[in-house]
C-alpha cells in the first residue's frame, strides 16, 4: 500500500517535471525541471531496492551533468523573448520518435504482462555495489573497457578543442597574462 502511494507520488512528479521541461521557454526552468525528473527517477529506483543506481543517478546526472548545463545557461544568459525557431524541421523527427517510443512502451507492457510472475528474492544481493562491481570487472569487462576508452577520447578531444592555438602562440599569451598579473 505505502509503496504504491510512493510510486504514484514519484511517477507523477517525474511526468509533471518532464512536461514542464518541454513546455518552458526559459532554458533554466527547463534545466530545473530535468533535475526534478532525475530526482524522481532516483526515488523510483529506491523503491525498486536499487539504491546504488538511485544514488549514481543523482550523483552523475543531477549532480554533475546538470550542474554543467545550468552553468552554461547562466553564463550565456539567453534572452527568453527570442524563441529558437531554426530547428522547426525537427518537429517531424520528434513526432516519429514519439510514436516509436509509445509503441515500445506498449510492447514492454505486453511483454511484462505475458511473462509469469516470479517473486523477488529479498536476500538477493543483486543491485548492491559489490555485485555490480563484480559483474563489471568479470562478465562485462569488454563493455567497461570500451566505455573507458571512449571517455578518454572525449577528454582528449575536449583538450584539443580548447587548445587550438599553436604552441609558440600559446606561450606568448601565457607570458602576456603573467605580465599583466605582475602589474
Amino acid at each position: 500500500m505505502v509503496s504504491t502511494v510512493i510510486f504514484f507520488l514519484f511517477a507523477g512528479f517525474a511526468i509533471a517535471c518532464a512536461i514542464s521541461m518541454v513546455y518552458h521557454k526559459n532554458p533554466l526552468y527547463s534545466a530545473i525541471s530535468l533535475i526534478g525528473v532525475f530526482i524522481a527517477l532516483a526515488g523510483l529506483y529506491v523503491t525498486l531496492a536499487a539504491t546504488f543506481i538511485a544514488v549514481t543517478q543523482i550523483l552523475v546526472y543531477a549532480g554533475a551533468i546538470m550542474v554543467l548545463v545550468v552553468f552554461v545557461i547562466m553564463l550565456l544568459n539567453l534572452d527568453e523573448d527570442k524563441p529558437l525557431n531554426r530547428l522547426r524541421y525537427l518537429y517531424v523527427v520528434g513526432a516519429g520518435l514519439g510514436v516509436a517510443l509509445l509503441a515500445q512502451t506498449f510492447f514492454i507492457f505486453y511483454a511484462v504482462l505475458k511473462t509469469p510472475k516470479s517473486p523477488a528474492d529479498p536476500d538477493s544481493l543483486a543491485g548492491s555495489p559489490m555485485s555490480i562491481g563484480q559483474a563489471m570487472y568479470t562478465e562485462y569487462l569488454l563493455p567497461v573497457e570500451i566505455v573507458g576508452v571512449m571517455l578518454l577520447m572525449a577528454i582528449i578531444g575536449a583538450v584539443i578543442l580548447v587548445r587550438r592555438m599553436e604552441q609558440p602562440e600559446m606561450e606568448a599569451v601565457i607570458e602576456q597574462e603573467s605580465e599583466n598579473r605582475i602589474e
Binding site: 526552468y29 550523483l59 549532480g63 548492491s128
Partner: protein, 376 residues
C-alpha cells in the same frame, strides 16, 4: 489492536528518532555559530558576543529572532520562483545527510533495565516489556543505506544548485559572479573529494558508514583508524571539504572584498538565515564524514576495555567520543578562518585540478597496489 501497534511502532520510533537527531544537530549547529564568533573574537583579541545571557549563551536564539522579524526584501527584477526555491534547495540538501549519521554502536538491550521498575504499574507494566523487546539491537542511525558514503556525496553535489540558482535569480552581477564561482569550485573539488574517499572504501570493502566504522574497529593497531594508512587521503579530503563548504580559505563565492556578499547579496531575513544554516549544517556533515572515514566514527580504541561492548555506558561513551571528534573538526574550521587569507580564484582552480586531484588519484593507485601486494 496488537497488529496495528506492531505496524505503527516503527513509524513512532522513526518519528522520535528523526526529531531527536535533527533537533540535536541543529542545536549543535546553532552553537557552532556562537563558538565561531567567540573563538574569532579571541583570535583577534576581542571578547565576542557577551550581551545576551551569561557569556552570550543565548545569542543563537537572539540571532534567530532577529532573522525572523527583519523585513524580507525581494529584488524587483529577480526571477521570483527560482529566487524562492534556491534557499530551500540549499537547506534541504544540507539537512538530508543527517538521516545517515552513525550516532553510536548498537545497544544490546537499551530498555531492559526499565522492566523490573515498572512491573507492578497498570498499563505501563505491560507496555514497557513489549517496547523493550522491540528495541533490542536497534541501530542508532535513522537510515542504514549500503551506499551511505555515495548518498552523502550525491546530496551535497545537488546542494550546488541552491547557491548557483540564488546567484542567477537575484539579477545582480555580484550574485551571479558568486554563483558561477561556487558551481565551478564545487564541481572541481567534488572530484578530489570523491577520489580521496576511494582509498578508505578499498580498505573497508563497503560503502556503508556503519560498515566502515566496523571495519576500522577490527584489524591490526595501525588499521584502527584509517587516518594512519590513508593519511594522504585524509589531507586531500580535509582540504576538499573546506572548498566544498565554501569556507575560508576557499570562500570565493561570498568573498566580501570583491563581491559584496557573493551569491546571497540580495537575500535578507529568513531566506538569508536558511543559507546561513545550510552552510553550518554542511560543515557539520563534512566533519561527520571525516570522522567516520578517517577517525573511526564512534569507535575509539580502549573503550571496549572500560565498558562491555553493547552496554548502555559503552554506547554513551562512544557517542561522546564521536561528538568530540566532530567538535575538533569544527574548531579546526573556525581556527583556519581566523588564521588564513583567501585564495585568488585562478589559484583555487589550478590548486584543485593540478595538485589536489592528481594527489588523490595517486593515493588511490598506491592503495590499490599495496592492498594487492599484501593480499598476494
Amino acid at each position: 489492536m496488537e497488529s496495528a501497534l506492531e505496524t505503527a511502532f516503527p513509524f513512532i520510533v522513526y518519528s522520535v528518532g528523526i526529531l531527536l537527531a535533527f533537533q540535536g544537530v541543529l542545536m549543535i549547529v546553532a552553537y557552532t555559530v556562537l563558538a565561531e564568533r567567540k573563538v574569532l573574537g579571541w583570535i583577534q583579541g576581542r571578547i565576542g558576543p557577551n550581551r545576551v545571557g551569561p557569556w552570550g549563551v543565548l545569542q543563537p536564539f537572539a540571532d534567530l529572532l532577529k532573522f525572523i522579524f527583519k523585513e524580507d526584501l525581494v529584488p524587483d527584477k529577480s526571477t521570483k520562483f527560482v529566487y524562492f526555491l534556491a534557499p530551500l534547495v540549499a537547506l534541504t540538501c544540507a539537512l538530508l545527510p543527517i538521516a545517515l549519521y552513525p550516532f553510536g554502536p548498537r545497544i544490546a538491550d537499551p530498555l531492559g533495565w526499565l522492566v523490573p521498575y515498572t512491573a507492578g504499574i497498570p498499563y505501563l507494566g505491560d507496555a514497557v516489556p513489549w517496547i523493550a523487546e522491540r528495541a533490542i539491537n536497534m541501530p542508532l542511525t535513522i537510515a542504514q543505506l549500503d551506499v551511505g558514503v555515495l548518498f552523502i556525496l550525491a546530496i551535497t553535489s545537488v546542494g550546488v544548485y541552491g547557491i548557483a540558482l540564488a546567484g542567477w535569480s537575484s539579477n545582480n552581477k555580484y550574485s551571479l559572479m558568486g554563483g558561477l564561482r561556487s558551481s565551478a569550485q564545487m564541481i572541481s573539488y567534488e572530484l578530489a573529494m570523491g577520489a580521496s574517499i576511494i582509498g578508505v572504501v578499498i580498505l573497508a570493502g563497503t560503502l556503508d558508514l556503519n560498515g566502515i566504522i566496523q571495519a576500522q574497529s577490527a584489524g591490526p593497531w595501525y588499521m584502527r583508524w584509517y587516518i594512519i594508512p590513508q593519511f594522504i587521503g585524509f589531507m586531500v579530503f580535509l582540504i576538499a571539504a573546506f572548498a566544498e563548504t565554501n569556507r575560508v580559505p576557499f570562500d570565493l563565492p561570498e568573498a566580501e572584498t570583491e563581491l559584496v556578499a557573493g551569491f546571497h547579496t540580495e537575500y535578507s531575513a529568513l531566506k538569508f538565515a536558511l543559507f546561513f544554516m545550510a552552510e553550518y549544517v554542511n560543515m557539520f556533515t563534512v566533519s561527520v564524514l571525516c570522522t567516520v572515514l578517517f577517525l573511526g566514527g564512534w569507535y575509539t580504541p580502549g573503550l571496549s576495555y572500560l565498558f562491555p561492548v553493547g552496554s548502555i555506558p559503552y554506547a554513551l561513551a562512544s557517542h561522546v567520543t564521536f561528538l568530540l571528534k566532530i567538535f575538533a573538526f569544527l574548531f579546526l574550521y573556525i581556527w583556519i578562518r581566523g588564521t588564513l587569507p583567501r585564495f585568488r580564484f585562478d589559484q583555487l582552480m589550478s590548486f584543485g585540478w593540478k595538485f589536489l586531484l592528481p594527489v588523490a588519484i595517486g593515493n588511490v593507485i598506491l592503495t590499490i597496489v599495496i592492498v594487492y601486494l599484501l593480499n598476494m
